[in-house]
Symmetry: C2
Subunit: 318 residues, 2 copies
């Protein structure tokens, strides 16, 4: 179970959308990746089991250079893509349907799937917003440049100075709009994306439980068969086969018990883990939203102060 | 001269960019046209000669329905386009070059052409800015919608309420961004466009002066020829032709005087008119800039207040 959770998080790290194989690894890509890895490490450090994991502690405390990731380096980008697509297909093919004895799981998986679908819509809207903000920033720069050029051929001193100051203001706003785009991207879009990836990990965990359930069902079926065998030998009085048949029944009884235990364990563990996950999700959403509001208000305030500095030269035009 | 100025302004009213023949005349088009006509009427009302023109006063004070513009209505959009393109070609073909005795005109036309070229660049940058702001407004609406949908399937009460409030805030910001786009459009882009059109009218007026100059030159040439004729008749002692020749010389002398007077008048009138135009231009730029700054600051302040109302529900998530 923990392994799956960790595996899920590893998928977050490696997800093809983030590595975008074939695309040039520019400064923006590096910064996005750096921020994503930082969030990943932070989340791992907050997990009660993972935070005390020796490998994790060694990784954090090591002052040696990290070993080169030989396997990923030799795998081509397209190869990694194929690999993940394959994993994705397999997961998608397996249905979550099972004779569910605990309604909590049915409700939870429906909830997770709804949230996931809506988060994906929100993420796509946020991504477009980020791109358009970047475009707006570039166009503000173009307005700044045009105003600066106009100021050089304006003969009226007051108007020329005002145009030049307008160009300065628009240039500052250009930079600020670029910061706003970053704020939308790193605080909101990437945060939502993390949760899309985490929900995908959650789905894998639910799927893992279905597999454990299927093992248990299989063991029960085998136990029934072994019991039938034993019954047949008893009726036929085949004492020579009976001991072997009894042994097999006991073997499968143990297996059924172990599988049931595993199923109970994973069910309990998932509930516990989901509770922690949900608390974190709400807490993280709150922190990010507060940070986003602060950023938004600070940016607007900054723009106001830029315009304020422009007022005197506008008043002094004539 | 005044006719040309008025004609120039009429061209502002009728310019093909504004009517966009073939395009559907939607509410946005009507509003743009309404605002442009209002600015046109205001500018006309500020002109010392035009404001006392009887036709203009009748137009303003009439409480009867305006006659239908039969000619423009029967002319197809494409026809109007062709008409203006033709006028434009003719104007472009005629050079402003002439033996300029007054350096003021050379300097002024260079200044006007520089300003015009740079205003066109600024206008094109502003138009892109307006479009991108509109796009940003629509995308903000999409984020609002996604947040609202997410809130309906969020089981956590605090987070669900916060998402719903976030949707409200983003919806208000969507409207505000649309207002910002309008502010960019009506206060800046359309204002700059008016001046591009007015500079085109100014160029026509300068061109009118070149035509008057050419008439004067032509009259002087004719006068020289008539004097030569008279000289030839005097030498040949052709008294029978002399009276007629003398009459022609006097005729052209009058014409030369009239043309020179016309040229002096138009030159003086242009300088006077340009002074008024320049003063208005600076004054209007100041008024518009102040209005723009006010709008910008009010919009940012409004966005801050929207985010402020969101803080409590973000704080109350957990």
């Amino acid at each position: 179970m923990l392994n799956t959770f960790v595996l899920g998080s590893t998928k977050v790290k490696m997800s093809p959308q983030q590595t975008e194989p074939g695309a040039p690894r520019n400064a923006e890509w590096v910064e996005t990746r750096r921020a994503a890895l930082q969030r990943y490490v932070n989340r791992t450090a907050q997990h009660p089991v993972l935070r005390v994991d020796l490998d994790f502690i060694n990784f954090l405390e090591s002052d040696q250079e990290l070993p080169r990731a030989v396997n990923t380096a030799t795998l081509s980008g397209a190869g990694v893509m194929r690999l993940f697509n394959k994993v994705g297909e397999t997961v998608n093919k397996i249905t979550y349907k099972m004779d569910e004895s605990d309604p909590w799981f049915d409700e939870k998986i429906t909830e997770v799937e709804n949230l996931d679908a809506n988060l994906q819509k929100l993420h796509s809207a946020l991504k477009s917003l980020v791109n358009t903000r970047k475009e707006l920033s570039a166009l503000t720069g173009l307005v700044a440049k045009s105003a600066a050029m106009l100021s050089t051929c304006e003969e009226h001193t007051g108007l020329s100075r005002a145009l030049s100051n307008l160009a300065d203001v628009e240039e500052k706003i250009e930079l600020l709009r670029s910061e706003q785009a970053n704020s939308d991207f790193f605080i909101m879009a990437e945060f939502v994306k993390d949760y899309i990836d985490l929900f995908s990990a959650v789905k894998s965990v639910f799927h893992e439980r279905v597999k454990v359930f299927q093992n248990w069902q299989h063991a029960q079926l085998q136990l029934s068969k072994r019991r039938e065998n034993r019954g047949r030998y008893e009726l036929a009085n085949r004492t020579d086969k009976l001991e072997q048949a009894q042994q097999e029944v006991e073997e499968w009884q143990t297996k059924v018990q172990r599988c049931q235990q595993q199923f109970d364990d994973i069910s309990t563990e998932i509930k516990k883990e989901m509770e922690r996950f949900e608390l974190n999700r709400i807490r993280e959403f709150k922190i990010n939203t507060m940070k986003y509001i602060e950023d938004q208000m600070a940016h607007q305030q900054q723009i106001i102060s830029y315009w304020e500095t422009f007022i005197p030269s506008a008043r002094e035009i004539v």
